[in-house]
Amino acid sequence: MKLVPIAALLAAALASPAALAQKKYDPGADDKEIRIGNTNPYSGPASAYGTIGKAIGAYFKMVNDQGGINGRKVVWVSYDDGYSPPKTVEMARKLVEQDQVLILFQTLGTPSNTAIHKYMNMKKVPQLHVATGATKWNDPKNFPWTMGWQPNYQTEGRIYAQHILATNPKAKIGILYQNDDYGKDYLKGMRDGLGDKVGMIVKEVSYEVTDPTVDSQIVQLQASGADTFFNITTPKFAAQAIRKAYDIGWKPTHYVNNVSASIGSVLKPAGLEKAVGLISTQYLKDPLDDQWKDDDSIKAWKAFMAKYYPDGNLADASNVYGYTVAQTLHQVLKQAGDNLTRANVMKQAAAMKGWRTETMLPGIRINTDAGDFAPIESVQLIRFDGKEWKRFGQIMGR
């Protein structure tokens, strides 16, 4: 009689480690769901970017409808931080300590992410695929729990600098930049890229997000005699700058940064004919670009938007960004399988070799490893011909 309970105990003891080894969870993941936390500026000066959070939420609704990831539903918990760092700290703590999410994903804004950088690493919670292009997120040695996603701003600035040096070594460069971390990062990239030829910059003018127009700044740049213009602005001001430059008859070689290269949000309002000749870099497909009209991935994206995010603007490239980065997380979580610990999520995110999704431009790939926490480092130079962003040259970066 005593043998049965002993045998049962033995069987249980032998079976359990094997069973346990298959599923590992950290707070925020279990058999039924995976909780992903996020902060986005749904209000305040940067509220235009709030659509990214909504697009990602819609994407995971679609994933859930299709059965979830490895049978688990994704619970998307996103809070508004109004682009204010103290609010981001509060919301991040809420997500980690109260809502018990597995990871923080695509938290938006350089100051917002800077504010929670130390906290996330101290708490050992992944701060994954942050929505900012600052260079400091690629530091696995000191901040192993933080990883970026998009090509960083300094690299982009350097690429433009290299292009100027190669095509017009006698150029006189005028720069308009937004007076915050985003603008200054691009500016640093260009200055570093020019190296000892930094004297080619004849004028740098800044503007604040609260300025009604940048018309005065454009007039200043024309007066400085610059024949090359690096336009570091956010969409509204980019449109103003492009239009004003054309209207006052200033025709420089015009580089516009990637964030403001959207046909729908910038070029169309400015006037397509005024944007001819614009040079930028890109790593995603622009939804309004004619050359992708019949492209399968853009068609799939449009169907997704119609069904899951009907309020979303089909002309806004941010919605393609949100969709693509959500696909990246989808892949990471799929790779993690049943081992949903925070450490494993970071491990999988740092083990992507040559992975891509079709809304990225041809040739762009995601590469990460233990020492490289910058997923997308390659971009394509593009030039606007009045209708489409035509790719030229090779893919730059890794």
Binding site: E208, D215, S216, V219, S265
Partner: protein
């Protein structure tokens, strides 16, 4: 020298924007002795209404006048429904109500229309004889419209009985009631007119800065400064103040202090003026006897 001229012209263009909203602020002040922080958002909301009409195919001028009428009605309704309950509350409570209005209008507009910028058409011809290269025909036209509104306002307050009644209601509500003026409706009328002027301002501004829910935020500050530096009870002063602020800001930014601090310096100068001349350049000085 040429660069200076260019900046001055650009300053007149932006100054025109400030002047038009400053007129709405002066209007509301003359009618209610309060400065309405939500004026900018009201103007922005009305402009979105116009955009919706134009997008639905309504031609520009009918849409323009329909929007002005809509804004007028909206202003009256807001005064009667939202402001009336706090008529007798401390001034600061009313300011909080304004802030609440500001926040509600901004948030609702962003929700309905999203935050992507939209183009807004201009009724003025593009290019050609009218404008120089630095002042587009629209910017010139917008200044013109502002001046027309200014003249209409001045005539209204100075020469019509209704305008007189409104001024009386704002300055001395009790005496005005004794003479038979319906003070409540004067206030509502004042709000309606201010909202209408704001709508005009919004429709003039949107083609220049592009339509988005945060369009009026920065402009409101400059308009506020412009209205005060010109004398908050004087529509001419407000318009002149607007041009002054626009030119000052541009010239300071380009030649004196750089773009980073031009806002701070412009405002410091304005405050300096107010410290020396507390009722603004053209405001009336009120002497109260004790």
């Amino acid at each position: 020298m040429e660069a200076l001229l260019h900046q001055v012209l650009a300053g007149l263009a932006t100054g025109g924007i400030y002047a038009s909203l400053a007129l709405a602020l002066v209007m509301i002040y003359q009618a209610t002795h309060l400065v309405n922080f939500a004026q900018g958002e009201l103007a922005m909301f009305a402009t979105y209404f116009a955009w919706t009409l134009i997008n639905a195919g309504v031609p520009y001028w009918p849409a323009f006048f329909a929007t002005v009428a809509f804004a007028f009605v909206l202003g009256v309704v807001i005064e009667r429904v939202v402001i009336r309950p706090v008529e007798n509350a401390p001034v600061l409570a009313v300011v909080v109500v304004f802030i609440a209005l500001l926040v509600i209008l901004n948030s609702v507009t962003g929700w309905i229309y999203s935050y992507t910028i939209k183009t807004f058409p201009s009724p003025f011809p593009t290019g050609g004889v009218f404008g120089t290269k630095l002042l587009s025909p629209h910017e010139l036209g917008a200044i013109g419209v502002t001046l027309v509104v200014l003249v209409l306002l001045y005539l209204f307050f100075r020469f019509t009985p209704l305008g007189l009644a409104m001024r009386a209601a704002a300055q001395n509500p009790d005496s005005a009631r004794l003479v038979g003026i319906r003070v409540g409706w004067m206030l509502a009328l004042g709000w309606g007119l201010a909202a209408a002027i704001g709508a005009v301002a919004g429709m003039m501004v949107a083609p220049i800065v592009f339509l988005d829910p945060n369009m009026m935020g920065g402009i409101l500050l400059y308009a506020f400064a412009a209205a005060l530096v010109g004398g908050v009870d004087n529509p001419w002063g407000a318009v002149l103040g607007g041009f002054m602020v626009g030119v000052l800001e541009n010239v300071l930014g380009a030649f004196v202090i750089g773009n980073e601090l031009k806002l701070a310096v412009a405002l410091a100068l304005i405050i300096g003026v107010l410290v020396v001349k507390p009722s603004g350049f053209f405001g009336k000085v009120f002497v109260t006897r004790v």
